[in-house]
């Protein structure tokens, strides 16, 4: 009795099991064996055939001068060049744009187009070597860090300001001028030799680029879409991923005091770099420290001032520990000095510059 019942149940179970197994196999393997080939069909572009007369008529109405190369694809919004990520890359399956026409066919002389100028006079001797040369100030002008005009009381107002003497920054050159350099006859003769020997003639007008025979643009074959990887629909993995994502999003939303803003622009970065380099004085460093590149990390306040206690050296290359320490202290002084009043940084992007890593590389200064 039991055996018969078992036999009947077993048969039913087998049938049921076989059916379920068939369904499962179809679900799993169906994508591979029974998938429609529609996805892998190459994309097609409709092409309109026109007659030769119609083509010539279209040519006649075409603008004579073509200044830009025909672009096969609609113009894409240019990515901000200052943003490293995401990198604006041409899709691999997009045909490269044709090279722009070369407007000048004659070799262009290297002489400057403008009127020839006398070779620049050698920079005057000055104790200060800086990226930007500063001419000698008149003797009556006091040397100060900030340039200001002389102010005299005009007597118009009730509060008469005290007379203020004009000040000017200290004279500086862009390289070290030794006594031998100043009087080197060889260098003078080189300058003379480099001077242009004749007035450069104006360049010939670039020949107008001949319009290329325009043909009906080849229909761009639509890129064959990559077959999408079959999503793995593991419910457990999905649940874990969802949970992690939810946990990640929560604190970011909970910290509104860190404005991220748009990416830092090149000018904003350059402004910071220039501000720091003005205070990076390596004139008192040892020769070995002048060969040492140090990287400092610093945490910034929202008003642009560095947190002094946060400044630390995270890397040093090229010198001994002692040299690295000297280089670090000079770099640290630069950050503190020029950051005392706060660097000019966009508050709305504070999250991007709250932590800064500055690399101080004296290589170019050493050879001056």
């Amino acid at each position: 009795m039991l055996r018969q019942a078992y036999s009947r149940m077993s048969t039913g179970t087998k049938i049921s099991g076989a059916g379920h197994l068939a369904i499962i196999l179809w679900v799993i393997l169906g994508g591979s064996f029974f998938r429609s080939d529609r996805d892998s069909m190459p994309a097609t572009t409709s092409v309109t055939l026109i007659s030769e007369a119609a083509f010539e008529g279209r040519e006649a109405t075409r603008p004579e001068v073509v200044t830009e190369a025909p672009v096969a694809l609609p113009p894409q919004p240019e990515p901000d060049p200052e943003v490293p990520d995401p990198v604006a890359e041409r899709p691999a399956d997009t045909p490269p744009p044709p090279p722009p026409p070369e407007p000048v066919t004659e070799p262009v002389p290297e002489a400057p187009a403008a009127a020839p100028e006398a070779p620049p006079p050698p920079p005057p001797p000055a104790d200060r070597v800086a990226p930007v040369p500063v001419p000698q100030t008149p003797e009556e002008v006091e040397v100060a860090e900030e340039t200001q005009e002389a102010a005299t009381p005009d007597g118009a107002g009730a509060d008469i300001a005290e007379p203020q003497e004009a000040t000017a920054p200290e004279a500086a050159t862009t390289r070290i001028i030794t006594e031998a350099t100043e009087t080197d006859p060889d260098s003078a003769s080189e300058e003379i030799a480099l001077a242009p020997v004749s007035t450069p003639r104006p360049q010939s007008r670039p020949s107008r680029p001949q319009p290329e025979p325009v043909v009906e643009p080849e229909p761009t074959p639509a890129p064959e879409p990559e077959p999408e990887p079959e999503p793995v629909t593991d419910p457990l993995a999905s649940a874990v991923a969802d949970a992690v994502a939810e946990a990640n999003e929560a604190p970011a939303r909970a910290d509104p005091s860190l404005p991220v803003g748009p990416p830092m622009t090149a000018s904003e970065r350059e402004g910071l770099r220039v501000a720091v380099q003005q205070c990076w004085n390596i004139g008192s460093l040892s020769s070995e420290a002048m060969r040492t590149t140090v990287t400092l990390s610093v945490e910034m306040e929202q008003d642009g001032r560095p947190v002094i206690a946060s400044i630390r050296m995270i890397d040093a290359q090229g010198g001994s520990d002692a040299a690295a320490q000297q280089a670090y202290e000079a770099a640290r002084r630069a950050i503190i000095r020029c950051g005392a009043r706060g660097f000019d940084l966009p508050v709305e992007k504070y999250a991007q510059w709250r932590d800064i890593e500055m690399t101080f590389n004296p290589e170019r200064m050493r050879i001056r």
Partner: protein
């Protein structure tokens, strides 16, 4: 069951990792910039008058601070801020520093000190160095004690310590220079050996003017001087003890010997010896008196100078038909030429650091003091004048002193110093005309 457990474990693990991931996302990576342009200028340093702990110490206190400022400014690496610009006054050596007042005048370093007189009459000098913008001391404070006559040396010691802590190099202020003091008209110069502090102070004469003296050279420990004396009518190498001011002739050659220089350990001397019309370089071991010939060519070879490790010697020779620089092993052997520029090269001196060789160059009617690497590369000319010659290195290898002579019947030699970068060319004060300087090591 196992699968359920595994999934639960994965879920828990994922949630555990979530906070770290969220921090990283909420806080973007650091902004990175590279700075390759800076400024090269003297570092502004404030050196207020030192505190006099007793009324008797007051003149020393003022003078010591002034000498420290002169030393640092004279190096070309520092700029002493005038006292008139000070906002704060240091009234006590131990009182806290008002850094904001020093920041306001852009002082990047601050030197405070005090001077007292101990019960035994010795002068006691204490000082501290601060990094103003970091609002922190640069190293621990130091204290020196010496006789009151040595107040200048103590000032130099303070300046050396400040220089060393800021630049990372040893100082050179507590040093001496031996030189040839010259008097009289150009065609009848009377020459005497003299020694002075590096800044031209405390000049002492070591010889009288009865015989011509040339090319004095300090021993590595600074206790002896080698020079060339014409006391016998023929140039002979002579050694002089600075403490006893006694001299003795080295060797008993009947030939001319000149251009001597000690080995780095002081155990040997290299010099030139003329035999007939030929001049070669010889080595004399001072202890054993053994003499060996290092070069043997028909050319004139002179001005030998050891490398700091004592393994090589640089010298000048005209064996190629023109005066050039060569390097050979310290015990002689094959020499290789290292100078290939235009003109003539002479009087090479190896830097105490070993990285550079200073030399005199004559080209197109001008004389130059220059430096090049030991392999002859990266030649740089630092000076240019009617006559520059005879470079000598400061013990830290950063500064070169040399002789500059002006033209004309009234022309006279003088001592000058220049930084190896070519900056900070200065005349060294001497009581009269002076030539042939040799810098001592840092005094103990």
């Amino acid at each position: 069951m196992t699968k359920t457990l595994l999934s639960a474990l994965l879920l828990a693990l994922g949630l555990m990792m979530a906070p770290q991931a969220s921090d990283a996302q909420a806080r973007p990576g650091p902004l990175r910039i590279e700075i390759t342009e800076g400024v090269i200028e003297p570092l502004p340093v404030a050196i207020p008058p030192f505190i006099a702990e007793t009324p008797a110490a007051l003149p020393y206190a003022n003078n010591i601070a002034a000498v420290v400022a002169q030393d640092l400014e004279g190096s070309g690496l520092f700029r002493a801020i005038p006292e008139q610009a000070f906002i704060s006054r240091v009234t006590s050596f131990d009182s806290p520093v008002q850094f904001s007042d020093w920041k306001a005048i852009n002082a990047q370093a601050l030197v405070t000190g005090s001077v007292g007189i101990a019960a035994d009459g010795r002068l006691v000098v204490k000082f501290r160095l601060f990094d103003v913008f970091s609002e922190a001391p640069l190293g621990a404070g130091l204290q020196f004690a010496a006789s009151q006559d040595s107040w200048r040396r103590m000032a130099h010691k303070v300046a050396d310590a400040v220089y060393s802590r800021i630049t990372g190099e040893t100082g050179y202020f507590d040093t001496r220079v031996v030189f040839v003091s010259e008097q009289g008209p150009k065609n009848d110069r009377r020459k005497r050996l003299a020694v002075m502090d590096y800044d031209g102070q405390n000049v002492q004469f070591l010889t009288n003017d009865s015989a011509i003296v040339l090319a004095p050279r300090f021993s590595p420990d600074g206790s002896k001087i080698l020079y060339t004396s014409y006391a016998t009518g023929m140039p002979q190498i002579t050694e002089l003890d600075i403490n006893t001011v006694r001299s003795r002739s080295l060797g008993s050659n009947a030939n001319m010997s000149f251009s001597p220089r000690f080995s780095p350990d002081g155990s040997a001397v290299v010099y030139s010896l003329t035999n007939g019309a030929n001049t070669d370089i010889y080595r004399l071991d001072i202890g054993g008196g053994r003499q060996s010939q290092l070069t043997n060519t028909p050319a004139i070879e002179t001005a030998p100078s050891f490398s700091p490790d004592g393994r090589q010697i640089v010298f000048e020779s005209d064996r190629s038909g023109n005066q050039q620089l060569y390097v050979m092993p310290a015990n002689g052997g094959e020499a290789r030429r290292i100078s290939f520029g235009q003109g003539r090269y002479g009087t090479p001196v190896w830097s105490p650091r070993g990285d550079l060789i200073a030399f005199t160059k004559q080209n197109k009617g001008r004389f130059h003091i220059g430096v090049m690497r030991a392999d002859g590369s990266e030649e740089r000319l630092l000076t240019s004048s009617f006559l520059d010659e005879g470079p000598t290195w400061a013990p830290n290898g950063r500064v070169i002193m040399f002789t500059r002579e002006t033209s004309g019947a009234s022309g006279a030699p003088a001592l000058y110093s220049v930084d190896i970068s070519g900056r900070n060319l200065r005349r060294v004060p001497t009581p009269g005309a002076a030539s042939d300087p040799s810098w001592s090591p840092l005094l103990e």
